[in-house]
Amino acid sequence: MASPLLSRVSISNATAGNTISFSSSVSNGLLWRRSIAFPDKSRRKVSTVQAKIREIFMPALSSTMTEGKIVSWIKSEGDVLSKGESVVVVESDKADMDVETFYDGILAAIVVGDGEVAPVGAPIGLLAETEEEIAEAKAKASKSGSSAPPPPPAPAAASASPAAPAVAPPKSAASAPVPDGPKKIVATPFAKKLAKQHKVDIGSVVGTGPFGRITPADVEAAAGISPSKSTGVNVVSPVAAAPAPVAAAAPKAAASPAPPPIPGSTVVPFTTMQAAVSKNMVESLSVPTFRVGYPVLTDKLDALYEKVKPKGVTMTALLAKAAAMALAQHPVVNASCKDGKSFTYNSSINIAVAVAINGGLITPVLQDADKLDLYLLSQKWKELVEKARAKQLQPHEYNSGTFTLSNLGMFGVDRFDAILPPGQGAIMAVGASKPTVVTDKDGFFSVKSKMLVNVTADHRIIYGADLAAFLQTFAKIVENPESLTL
């Protein structure tokens, strides 16, 4: 699955971006409180202006900052904000800073939650002007799919509450000593935190803890997530001060619910990049995709490649250019579906190309590939690959793609199937070009180089005929490649 799914996910630039300079200090000279002065130039703007719902962007707190981590939201959803108030604390590579709002309004939705990371300029929250707009903003937040945080089973409160009583044991006996007065909800501090985090209505959770209190496990059950491992296990004799048998330690430690690992196996946690890939892979499952394959003869392209190769032109640049030219004639294939209700036609054709790098996968983007000439494009590509290797790609250099190209031809793969990256309309999987016996329309046999391309597309906006027409155009360009050099 060579699916470049890294677009729009901040990857481990943190490691490279964290310029550690001990000479730089955050002194009072630096503005301690920064504001969200962030004129958004990214494509996200397109969908913004319709209502008076404003996006709160991840600000650039330092010149080296490419992404920021939300330390904590000072305000919660529904809080009324006035201009200049601190809303969120953002951690940059240097310091934590309070971010203020520029406008009065209501914090309608938090798009990037506590502890999560967003690239500079990405929306992290939505500000509604009036209460009526909150619902709209919320809908918007939940739809802004690609960059949204992993929405853990958010609607769990609704769906899980009827189920919860079934899960909970009949607690009448256990909860006998409930004190007089109206029955109030007793939840432990961590249970309350979890409920807030997973948007579980604490009132709907049935407590199974001592004295009928709601424990973190109860909230997790209600939210439908697997219990987090308990921290700080007192291995020996939790409460009884009496000398406990040492043997007690063994069964407790062994009580692990996970399936038993095969002896000798090792567990290696994901790197940040791998985690991002994993996240995007799962996210891609929500998009209905289909695939269309097409054979393309490449003799002329190969001949052209031999000619321009000394000038530094790569096959990647040729294919990207060809795809971009075809996309220019079929804008729907360059479109994307962001909300399940509309087409978003992208103004520029940015070809993302999948690159495998040590232990990961990234998609540097050739921007405006249809407008740049082949030589500039090749030059640009060389720079991008260098940067990718050094982990110095800026967010806009790997998350601004509108169409993705993935090529496994050099490994002899004749055809394969790519997964559509979230936020894009289509991805092209290119196989190897191989000498093949073909017959022409007059019935003459000949041996030609043939390559199979296979495009995966979002069927909500791109239909079979669209893709077929696009592939036809693409094949025509590749088979008559003179236009590529123009």
């Binding site: 200090s25 955050v26 309350k192 973190p216 308990s230 020996v236």
Partner: protein
Amino acid sequence: MHSSLSLSFSSSTAIPRSGHSSELSCAAPPSPLNLRFCGLRREALGFSSPKRNDSCRVIVSSRGRSKKVSASVSDNGSAPKAFDYDLVIIGAGVGGHGAALHAVEKGLKTAIIEGDVVGGTCVNRGCVPSKALLAVSGRMRELQSEHHLKALGLQVSAAGYDRQGVADHANNLASKIRNNLTNSMKALGVDILTGVGTILGPQKVKYGKVGFSENVITAKNIIIATGSVPFVPKGIEVDGKTVITSDHALKLESVPDWIAIVGSGYIGLEFSDVYTALGSEVTFIEALDQLMPGFDPEIGKLAQRVLINPRKIDYHTGVFASKITPAKDGKPVRIELIDAKTKEPKDALEVDAALIATGRAPFTNGLGLENISVVTQRGFIPVDERMRVIDADGNLVPHLYCIGDANGKMMLAHAASAQGISVVEQVTGKDHVLNHLSIPAACFTHPEISMVGLTEPQAREKAEKEGFEVSVAKTSFKANTKALAENEGEGLAKLIYRPDNGEILGVHIFGLHAADLIHEASNAIALGTRIQDIKFAVHAHPTLSEVLDELFKSAKVHAHVPSPVGEPVTV
């Protein structure tokens, strides 16, 4: 006596670390506060040459008492009287110990009276055992932080602990330090007298265990160093099992699933660190409107962000715990909360245990203060800036001093010790006034918090009164190489200073090893070193100390200020 303290919150007067009253003109009354810091000085053994010299007694008494003491009894100018001791100290805590060691160094014949165990609160029920628990909690925290370990490339399977083992570690540490303390005094020739000390009259003390014969001794000078006990507000029933004070908590007889901590000062914070690391959930109950009221607001805000919000802790602020009933008959601990201002019932909590960390009350019972007509103020023994005890009429009581928690100036173990040394300096003929603003304080959470001098609001208030300018400089641990190597970049150091002359008014640190880092600043304040001088001092690279280096360097001191060293400074 204790009930005269009616506040049920911790270290919560406007001036955080109480006192300072000698240096500041502010009239802040000494307030109880959670002390749990101690720097034991020289408890290490091996002082080989106790300079004990009886003849100096004569010298001392002939020179002594040149101070103006407006009391009825004075031997000023009279012939040397034979005293049993030059100095008797009542109370062998850290303050008494510090005074005793210094007295021996100065050649005084010294005795120390202890009614309980040597070491006092700090060593036996305070900072020492709590540091043992915090050492465990710090490691547990690291081992449980998968994210942190992963970032370092480490893999650790589930970390667990043995409660009894942890408790033993704390207990063993306390007895070890206690023995060190006892031995160091014995080795130097300090007489350790066992029993409750009572002042009979000027320069006369009796001591003895209950039921045994009492001994009366005379001393040229007497220091009261009887310390403090946990303060428990009215309405709270302490049973030692489910409703406990720090005395019980340090024994770690249980780790409750859910514990309420009343008071979010130093003691409360440190215990929240211990309990959450060991798996408990914590609810803070704080009488003031915000948590950690004693800290510099900015540091407090950051500390809350790191030490409270991400942990299994919630809190109720602006409420008193008006009634706490221990768990019994199958019912949990019940805590009734009332609004701190309106006193109206607000809420009730049911938890597994409650820790009362509302500060400490001075321990002066049975001291015989009435014999010398001294009246305590809110339990504290009134003293002047030289720790001389003041009687009911406002006159100084000759030859009687009070140091440490009992005088309430600054309820920190090392402050008591410093006060004791100051007193010994005075009685050996060298006038000495301790600068309380140079005494650092620390809270040993993970990461640690430390401070010296004024907070920013205090400094601004003082500046307004005295008409000078105040500037603030800050550095982040995120820019420090060593902190990043440890993957502990969370932290802030803050310097409050006068830009006109470079005087350091206060330094506050929150971050890795903050408690150890503060001393560069406290020493600078104690010695009067100015920023323009200290900024040229070199720090090893890469170390956490560079955080302070950065801090001093980022301060902007106006030029043309003549520096004591005479080195011209371009700024």
